[in-house]
């Protein structure tokens, strides 16, 4: 049965989309920041994983930790250079700077990692599980589990903990939060580093599904847009639901209509939603 197979495939795909978007959702809701280098950070996360596995013989799990740390450090560098723009909430220049960073990362990665497609040899990718007519790998299971863990953890931390209250306070009014002794610059740094680390994690678990190139990242950015905007800007639960739904939509559209135009179709849905409901599908 083709439908079941595509539904399972779409679920894994969508969990990957949601995982890509979780960092940006937090960035938007907690700091009103955007990062157009998000997709390139995903690419760097995937390539660092591949590099330390293929060249240094590091096992997958340790490679994952290294990749997340490297990208988190990159994120910290980016945010430290942008602190002034962030505190000014200069969104136009922030968009442009992060776009430039993304291009820098792409050029830099091409110089360091070369222009050939590579494959991350995750041991989980080799284990195929058959469920009725649907087949999936343990890697797919890991993606779905990771997506739920990340969303659950983030919702809990932002909603229930002191740290979450501080972050929400800065999001609401950075100047007022500073009057209460909160270091807004440090909160922005923390949120940005979390966002970078989470997209690196997405790179580590999602990228083994297909060959990677240093030019990837742009499609990942639109997927993130779609999830973030359709889910209702900064709405975490909406993001997870939309991510999963988008994955199923892309899988079904790819299987029954045309794989090449699946993204274009998803974008057409976005345009319609923007005209009808500019605030997104999620309700707050």
């Amino acid at each position: 049965m083709k439908l079941l197979a595509q539904l399972v495939n779409g679920l894994a795909l969508g969990a990957g989309y949601a995982l890509l978007a979780v960092g940006w959702t937090v960035l938007l809701s907690a700091a009103r920041l955007v990062n157009f280098a998000h997709g390139q950070l995903y690419m760097v996360g995937a390539f660092v994983t591949w590099f330390v596995m293929a060249h240094l013989g590091v096992p997958y799990l340790l490679a994952a930790v290294i990749a997340v740390l490297v990208v988190a450090a990159l994120g910290a560098l980016m945010q430290l250079s942008m602190t002034r723009l962030t505190l000014d909430q200069n969104i136009v220049n922030l968009m442009l700077v992060t776009l430039a960073f993304g291009y820098l990362l792409q050029g830099g990665a091409a110089l360091v990692f070369g222009g050939n497609p590579q494959v991350i040899d995750s041991p989980l990718q080799a284990h195929t599980v058959a469920l009725s007519s649907a087949r999936f790998t343990l890697q797919d299971v890991l993606i779905v589990v990771m997506a739920f863990v990340m969303y659950g953890g983030t919702v809990y931390v932002l909603g229930r903990t002191n740290l979450g209250r501080v972050v929400r306070g800065v999001a609401e009014d950075p100047k007022l939060a500073q009057l209460y002794g909160i270091n807004a610059a440090r909160v922005y740094l923390g949120v940005f580093v979390f966002s970078a680390a989470s997209v690196a994690l997405a790179g580590v678990v999602v990228a083994p599904r297909s060959p990677i190139l240093t030019s990837i990242g742009f499609e990942e950015v639109i997927i993130t847009f779609l999830v973030v905007v359709l889910g209702g800007i900064g709405n975490l639960k909406g993001g997870l639901v939309v991510g999963l739904g988008l994955g199923v939509f892309v899988a079904l559209f790819g299987a029954y209509v045309s794989p090449a135009y699946a993204m274009a179709a998803a974008f057409a849905v976005l345009l319609v939603v923007l005209v009808v409901r500019p605030q997104g599908l999620g309700t707050r």
Partner: protein, 373 residues
Amino acid sequence: MTVTSSDHTASGQPVSATGTPGAIGGRRRLGGPLRALGWVALLIVGYLLPTLLGGGNQIYTTFVLVAIFAIMSYGNDVVLSYLGEVSLGHTLFWAAGAYTTAMVTVRSGWAPLPALLLALVVAVVLALVLGLATLRTREFVFSLVTYAAAIIGLTVVSSSDALGGSDGLVGVPLLTLPAMGGQYVVRTNADLWPIAFLLLVLVIALIARFRRSRLGATALMAQMNGDLATSMGVDVRRTRVLVFVLSAPVTALAGWLYAYQRSYVSPDLLSSFFLLFMLTAVILPGRRQLLGPLVGAALLTGQQQLASFGGDADKIVLGGVLAAVLLLSPNGLVGIWHALARRARRRPGTAEAPAGAPAPEAAASADPANRTH
């Protein structure tokens, strides 16, 4: 309304919204005739520059590319400088201009001028659809959607057989224009230069006209204080869509020229290179300068043509320049220039009294351009 608009543009130099005090102050205004004479001299020198530089093939190629990329950047300049929005979808109009031209000339044998007309119409229609769809979106959602539109354009173009797929369309015929007593056939970049130069001048004239127009003033007002503009009866959304729609055919015109310059089109027109190029060309010299995008395009094209380090390193150069300008001197080279000029003016006075009261105050009120030392 009318008063405000003339205030903004009395010196052809609108008030800065990015908070640079006195960035424009002190510019002496030339008398009308003298100023016109200056422009004529600039035109003549500009036109003859490639010949004066030796007139080799590479010189002409570089100059033609500068003109094409400058026109391309002027389209985005209108949106970025006057509307204060970041359009990441202008590569779509650029590619629409080039692809429309290639489609109808290669497949249907159209002449260049009807092809140009159709290219402009296609760009306007695309901009209308995108502009109306993003009517109610806030600043970064606008950028996201325009960016997504460009990437979708890339996937559609690369996978559509009708548009040549990833190979693109080859064999755009020579640019042939009706001329007095026959035809003007463009065989080399030297032949293309007069046309590219003329179109560049027309585009700059259009931008100058736009800066003085009511639409230009309204756009600036909407950018600086949307609520105030609305309370004064300005339809901000309508202004945004109008400016966006105006910008699209400018960039598409460059696409038309580029299709003839290269004689083929391919999906790389939609690559992020051209997007980064047009944004950097506007931002590097400083936003809202009439000749800014031309200077920016000349600097970037010069580096790519004459001092290239190879594709990936050039990406680092382009991305690095854009990031560095925004982080160190958001007002671009003009900002640095004004900061230096301020410092030079202050020096005689502060030599005796270095800790004088005005100095720190001036430094604090000055923009981050000061941090470049």
